[in-house]
Amino acid sequence: MLPRIFKRIRDWVDDRTGLPTAIGKMAGHLVPPDAKWWYVFGSATLCAFMIQVISGIALAFSYIPSASEAYSTLRFISDEAPFGHFLRGLHYYGASAMVLMVGLHMVQVFLFGSYKFPRELNWATGVLLLGFTLVMGFTGQLLRWDQNAVWSVVVGAEQAGRVPLIGEWLAHFTLGGDTVGGATLTRFFAIHVFIMPALIFAFVGLHLWLVLRHGISEPPTAGKPVDPKTYRQEYKELIEKKGRPFWPDAAWRDTVFCVGMIVAVAALALFFGAPQLGKPPDPSIIAASPRPDWYLLWYFAVLALLPHGSEKYFMVFGPLLVGLLLIALPFISNRGERSPSRRPWAIAAVLMIVLMIAALWVEGVRSPWSPNFKAQPLAMSVVGATNGPVFVGAQLFHSKGCLDCHLIGDDGGRRGPDLTDVASRLPKSQMILRISNGGVNMPAFAANLSQADMDALIAFLQTRKIQPP
């Protein structure tokens, strides 16, 4: 009895809207039979995006996008609202998952040569979606609106300012005026909550439309290159002969992976929680050490490690060039072998890029180029004297800022060379020369040290020798 009513309702809806049939056709479209676990990352990205939409809308119930109030609403969400801390965590780890899945999806598509004919525009729209995702990550970090967020806006504006001709204009557009202020946050709110999501929805739609139009690419076979003249026919024959309906033959893997990801994201949110809020967004609090969230930390390292003087060109043309190259990839080569076993350079390129980002990321976490402002005066056991020039020199080594950038044992910063046993490699004259004149990354201290200071400092440094075992 009941099922018949359901069927009649369904038929009525289908007659009036046509949607059940259309959706059924899409869900049942035939996919290659051996598209297995490698193919889950695209839908996983969409799944992560859905986590973001839902958790983002929930957060918007309590968030006030006002320069004066956003911080206190974040405090409220984090500390008082039921599930608030969990929800912020969900949005943060959901964002992390989305960035990660976009990356994995891209690597898989690249290695499988799926971007080749006729799927060039699948790839190009995917690259744009990667860009949108990163913009969401950056603007999302700013909506946290703590001290780190405020300085990240400034850092963003300074990078925009490097663009030739319209740089200053862009920088002011980013800040929403001359300084960080009342107009800044609302702009990023509108971008993060309306503009970028709308673009992502539109391009996900287009991306999926293209997936349906060209079909899911079959796993590559070595020795079976793509020839635009014959590819479509071959794919059609393969699908007609061996194709399986997407739902449920392939979709079950997407579902299982997606649910696994949701569980992982929720577990991370529950056990680790969202990033701690920093100090209030007061630009006059000078003690700040702005850092981007993890997915942009590697770029923070790039900006620190660029050769001095090349920043201007790199900051503008670097990202632009990378973006253009990525979009251009299928237009440079849309035919030939797809199998990674026949494309060693493709594997090498992926390995190089992954290693490069990983290495830069590790450097970003360590950020050895940042002075260690927390360096404490050296302990007596390290100095080895309680009075006399060695003792005075050790005090100067801290007070003159040397320790902020140089290591003595385990204390100090990592900006300059480790001076734990400097006396074993540099003679006194060299030490004086370097301290007086400085270098590319070291200030010249000649005008800042009296002769007595210099003598004491050298006396201290001369005790820094390799200890006999």
């Binding site: 850092v155 300012g161 200053e168 967004p281 006059s284 402002f373």
Partner: protein
């Protein structure tokens, strides 16, 4: 196949117009495009204007007192806070700005921007080392704002500063955007 096509041909189809001929259909097509364009323009100009408003805002610079002259010691550099020129009512703490103020002599002061010229991070003053250091990428400046080390492309910018009625005053300014 041909038969089918013939069957589907609408009965009212007219002979194709020559390129110069303005048919009713072509006229309506153009009308729609032009009307759509006008509608888009009517909406775009004010909306774009609103979004780009920050560029049309007239800059009001103001002198802000940051402390009595005698509260600053000669030869020392201190952080001073003041309010931006015309903060929006809901700016809250973001309306605040800071500068490093150095008293050179009895009546000369220098006000440095706190923004590193590399990427704008707030530089800190290390009084005993006589250096400004940036927490982000390790830029260092001497006490006069000249670059001492690291990636900054130019010296720390300076803000106009004056002494009026016993007060040290700094002129508000935009965040210096480095283009080097």
């Amino acid at each position: 196949m041909n038969e089918n096509q013939n069957k589907n041909t609408p009965p009212c189809q007219r002979p194709a117009p020559t390129p110069e001929e303005l048919t009713r259909r072509r006229f309506l097509e153009r009308l729609s495009l032009v009307a759509g364009g006008v509608g888009a323009l009517i909406l775009t100009v004010p909306i774009a204007g609103f979004i780009l408003a920050p560029f049309f805002a007239r800059r009001h610079e103001m002198w802000r007192s940051v402390g009595k002259v005698e509260s600053f010691k000669i030869g020392e550099t201190a952080a001073v806070q003041y309010e931006d020129a015309t903060p929006l009512p809901w700016a809250g703490v973001t309306a605040r700005s800071a500068a490093w103020l150095r008293r050179e002599s009895a009546d000369t002061f220098i006000a440095f921007s706190i923004n590193c010229t590399h990427l704008g991070c707030p530089v800190r003053w290390l009084a005993e080392a006589n250096l400004f250091m940036c927490p982000c990428h390790g830029g260092v400046y001497y006490k006069d704002g000249a670059v001492a080390a690291g990636p900054p492309p130019s010296p720390l910018p300076r803000y106009p500063v004056r002494v009026k009625d016993g007060d040290v005053q700094i002129q508000t300014a935009s965040i210096p955007i480095s283009n080097k």
